[in-house]
């Protein structure tokens, strides 16, 4: 394919943009975008969210990398997203390659293409984007003239399914590793060596996983026998990267000129979670807990409001109530920004009346709709299994407080399909919803509403449930039927997830390297935008599995042996496998494990990151402080 200069892309855009929906998705030029002269830097990085602009623009991970890379004098970062199908057909009919929004350079011209993989249903879009960029989708078919293709994000903690397409994965947090990748790339480029040399150089960066430097062997029954490095530079395991302390938050967010769903300022107040819910992937992979100081958060809000003109701020974390200075923060936000009529959202609050006080404080800024609580399970037994224990009475008490404070809608999030769950446990979900609605009726009469969002549990890699099977299609359907029958009528609303969507995610999230062939085949059969109901076709995936001679049930329904070599066992999240095993056994015996801020359970974070911990102030992490493992030499000689 001939290289399209930016002028040609711009001129073709002029011709086609009035023929597509929301043309503002494809133009760039928004407030706060950064455009550097192309030739003023050595290294050009395209940051790619593999879904449409509307969903990708708010992504905080890419926003951080955009900021990090563009701070360098020797590199630039630009953005690209998946074109919606109408735009894709225009582009394909003209042979126009996918380009970056800032300078309209085709992606082929970049040095590095960096994808974020926040969830598995985006996988086929990655292939489609590589193809739209005019690149071979398979890494082994690309050469030195092609850009380096890297990926990161939460789904990349199991990199195997996407390993045929990605040259290298960055495991864990991106703030520091991205610079090391750019440095290594620059050094390699000047040396004009082979692509294999680049892979080896990248593998030496802590946290980088280069799949082609590892060999996977299988048992005849299809399970993994061994994952072994092919070269000595490839580490085993690849340990995730973390930053010792969260850097000050980004505040110059790109402000879209078209209306998109999430128009808000995202400020991460804390990273990591100490609660230890056994189903929670994010809670395991983002350890340790690191908090931002209150003043830093306030300053960031101030700066971001000024830079964007947004009216909404999201204070992000996995468990807002656990932020040490949450009361202080909320009070300061309310008093400092009280005159600006902004909406402040505080997700993931604990189910306790203190949360209602916090929300009341924030609500005074601007009234907001419902109040969300996530009990996740409703029976005593299930709460012990998943290690999210909230007494029944505490939930009702919190609900009473919410209704009494003027909210009329409570959203309750649950999951069905937890390990060992029976229909009685599902019945308990309905009973709880009814009990909450009864409380609401007593307090605010007929206006009281309960919205139940019931998703289906999918076992995730690197969690205590990584060995269990997902519910079968029939089990899920039976449970959903029960819910639909029990939660109808006035005051209730029920959302659930199509079991086919659940199974698709289940195959991919614990897939091995061979699943890559299924992804490739599904894409060739037309799969893309699998996260969109109107595009997702279950039968296409079944066909792809058949053609690749793999059994989907092997990945979803099979209970793994505790000693099995899991396909992601060469990737370490710094939480020990033995700890996960212990937690799995605890779940079977219904044993609860408390928040580890009270007592460290030695999950593995501290020994792995001992050096980093020793250098950070005691209060910066929620893990206890450590002394350096190895005594300093001089002292020994004394």
């Amino acid at each position: 394919m001939a290289i399209w200069p930016p002028e040609q892309i711009e001129s073709v855009l002029d011709r086609i943009l009035l023929k597509v929906q929301k043309p503002g998705r494809y133009t760039g030029g928004e407030l706060n975008q950064i455009v550097k002269p192309w030739d003023s830097v050595q290294t050009h990085v395209a940051l790619i969210f593999p879904d449409i602009y509307d969903l990708g623009l708010p992504n905080l991970g890419l926003t951080i990398l955009y900021d990090e890379i563009n701070r360098r004098a020797d590199a630039l970062a630009e953005r690209a997203y998946a074109p919606w199908t109408d735009m894709e057909s225009q582009m394909r009919s003209l042979g126009m390659p996918l380009y970056s929004l800032e300078s309209k350079h085709p992606l082929q011209q970049f040095d590095i293409l960096a994808f974020t993989l926040p969830y598995e249903s985006l996988y086929t879009n990655v292939l489609n984007i590589l193809d739209l960029a005019g690149l071979p989708v398979l890494a082994e078919e690309r050469n030195e003239r092609h850009p380096l293709v890297i990926a990161g994000g939460h789904a990349a903690f199991n990199p195997e399914p996407m390993s045929p397409f990605i040259d290298a994965f960055a495991i864990g947090e991106g703030e520091e590793i991205i610079h090391e990748i750019v440095d290594v790339y620059q050094e390699w480029k000047q040396s004009s060596e082979t692509r294999e040399t680049l892979w080896v150089k990248l593998a030496k960066i802590p946290g980088m996983y280069v799949p082609r430097l590892y060999e996977v062997e299988y048992h005849p029954n299809g399970t993994v026998r061994r994952i072994a490095p092919r070269v000595e530079e490839a580490p085993l395991p690849v340990v995730k990267r973390i930053v010792a302390q969260l850097p000050p938050p980004v505040t110059r967010f790109i402000v879209p000129s078209i209306d998109i769903v999430h128009n808000r300022i995202p400020i991460e107040i804390m990273r990591g979670c100490t609660r230890g819910c056994r189903f929670c992937h994010a809670g395991m992979v983002t350890r340790p807990v690191r908090e931002r100081p209150v003043e830093e958060i306030l300053q960031a809000i101030e700066a971001a409001l000024e830079a964007t003109g947004y009216e909404e701020v999201g204070l992000l974390s996995l468990a807002s109530s656990d932020y040490t200075h949450i009361r202080e923060l909320v009070e300061a936000v309310a008093s400092r920004f009280g005159d600006q009529k902004i909406t402040v959202s505080l997700p993931s609050l604990r189910i306790e009346s203190f949360s209602v006080e916090l929300m009341k404080e924030l609500k005074s800024l601007k009234p907001s709709g419902g109040f969300t609580l996530a009990p996740e399970a409703a029976s005593e037994r299930m709460r012990r299994v998943i290690n999210k224990y909230i007494p029944h009475e505490q939930i009702l008490e919190t609900a009473r407080a919410i209704f009494s404070q003027g909210w009329t809608t409570i959203k309750l999030y649950f999951m069905i399909g937890h390990p060992e769950e029976t229909l009685d446990d599902v019945q308990a979900i309905m009973d709880l919803c009814h009990a909450v609605l009864r409380e609401g009726r007593r307090i605010c009469g007929g206006r009281a509403k309960v919205h139940a969002g019931v998703s289906t549990f999918i076992p995730k890699p690197h969690t205590p449930f990584q060995w269990v099977s997902v519910d079968t299609m029939e089990q899920i359907q039976a449970k959903q039927t029960l819910l639909r029958q029990g939660l109808r009528g006035q005051g209730f609303k029920l959302n659930w997830v199509d079991p086919k969507v659940t199974l698709h995610e289940a195959w991919l999230s614990r897939g091995d390297r061979r699943i890559g062939q299924v992804i490739l085949r599904a894409w060739q059969l037309g799969a893309k935008f699998d996260a969109w109901q109107e595009h997702f076709l279950f039968e296409r995936w079944i066909q792809a599995f058949e053609e690749c001679q793999l059994d989907p049930a092997f990945y979803s329904y099979r209970k793994r042996d505790l000693d099995e070599v899991l396909p992601w066992s060469h990737i370490s999240i710094a939480v020990r496998p033995s700890y996960l095993k212990k937690e799995y056994q605890n779940s079977l015996s219904g044993t609860l494990r408390d928040d580890c801020r009270g007592q460290c359970y030695a999950c593995g974070i501290l020994p792995t990151f001992n050096d980093i911990r020793a250098k950070t102030p005691a209060e910066a992490w929620k893990c206890p402080p450590v002394r350096r493992k190895t005594p300093i030499k001089e002292k020994v000689t004394v």
């Binding site: 009035l18 043309p23 928004e30 078209i258 003109g309 947004y310």
Partner: protein, 234 residues
């Protein structure tokens, strides 16, 4: 003029007219904003005012909207040299300062040309617009017989067209339609003046389609708005 200084600066409950100051803005919309729809542009303006910390007044009612009234909505795909809008603020500031603060907060492609305070009692801008002028460039080669097509079109007594399932006569809405060449003298350029009254507005794309020209092969710019009474020009 009352300033409403005691008011909550971003209050959403709606403001009564007497406390407000009415500003008239003249501005240009460049290529960066060409694919921003009229509705999205409202959001762009609202955020620009918030960044500039200029307190917009809001309409009363269940869903208060900023009091920001355009003379004439700009269709998707157009740039413009001559947009006019009225906006009500709950604070009285010198127009120069308003202009300067807006410009600093404006997104790429939005250029403030002038800001004036105008009396509250003036009629709504959109009732004052008579006509709009457009400048149409061909991005590729223009049809060789474009001059003949124009003459043919103008000869017709009526030009019946269907838009949004409604039939209407385009002919009386075309005030002028001429062909000229670019300043470099090498490219044909269409100039048109079309009625833009509240009840009778013609869209330039419709004229192009009536001429058998695909609007996506052109670059369209609004160059002038013509008002009933002369309003102070930038």
């Amino acid at each position: 003029m009352p300033t409403g200084a005691q008011e909550d600066p971003h209050q959403r409950e709606g403001n009564s007219m007497s406390e407000l100051t009415r500003y008239r803005l003249w501005y240009a919309r460049g290529a960066e904003l060409r694919y921003v729809s009229h509705l999205d542009m409202m959001l762009v303006w609202e955020r620009t005012f918030r960044r500039a910390r200029l307190p917009l007044a809001f309409s009363q009612g269940f869903n208060p909207r900023p009091r920001f009234h355009l003379a004439s909505a700009l269709p998707l795909g157009f740039t413009s040299l001559c947009e006019v809008a009225d906006v009500w603020l709950i604070e009285t500031l010198p127009p120069d300062e308003v202009q300067e603060r807006l410009q600093r907060a404006a997104p790429p492609g939005l250029t403030l040309q002038q800001v004036e305070i105008v009396p509250l009692h003036l009629p709504a801008l959109q009732t004052m617009v008579l006509a709009a002028e457009y400048h149409i460039e061909f991005r590729e080669d223009a049809p060789s017989d474009v001059a003949d097509r124009i003459a043919g079109l103008l000869e017709q007594r009526e030009i019946i067209r269907v838009r949004r399932e409604k039939t209407y006569d385009l002919r009386p809405l075309i005030e002028t339609l001429t062909l000229t060449t670019s300043s470099e003298g090498d490219k044909p350029i269409l100039l048109m003046r079309l009625s833009a009254k509240e009840s009778a507005t013609a869209r330039p794309e419709e004229v192009l389609l009536a001429l058998g020209i695909d609007p996506t092969t052109t670059r369209m710019e609004r160059t002038r708005l013509i008002f009933q009474e002369p309003i102070p020009a930038p």
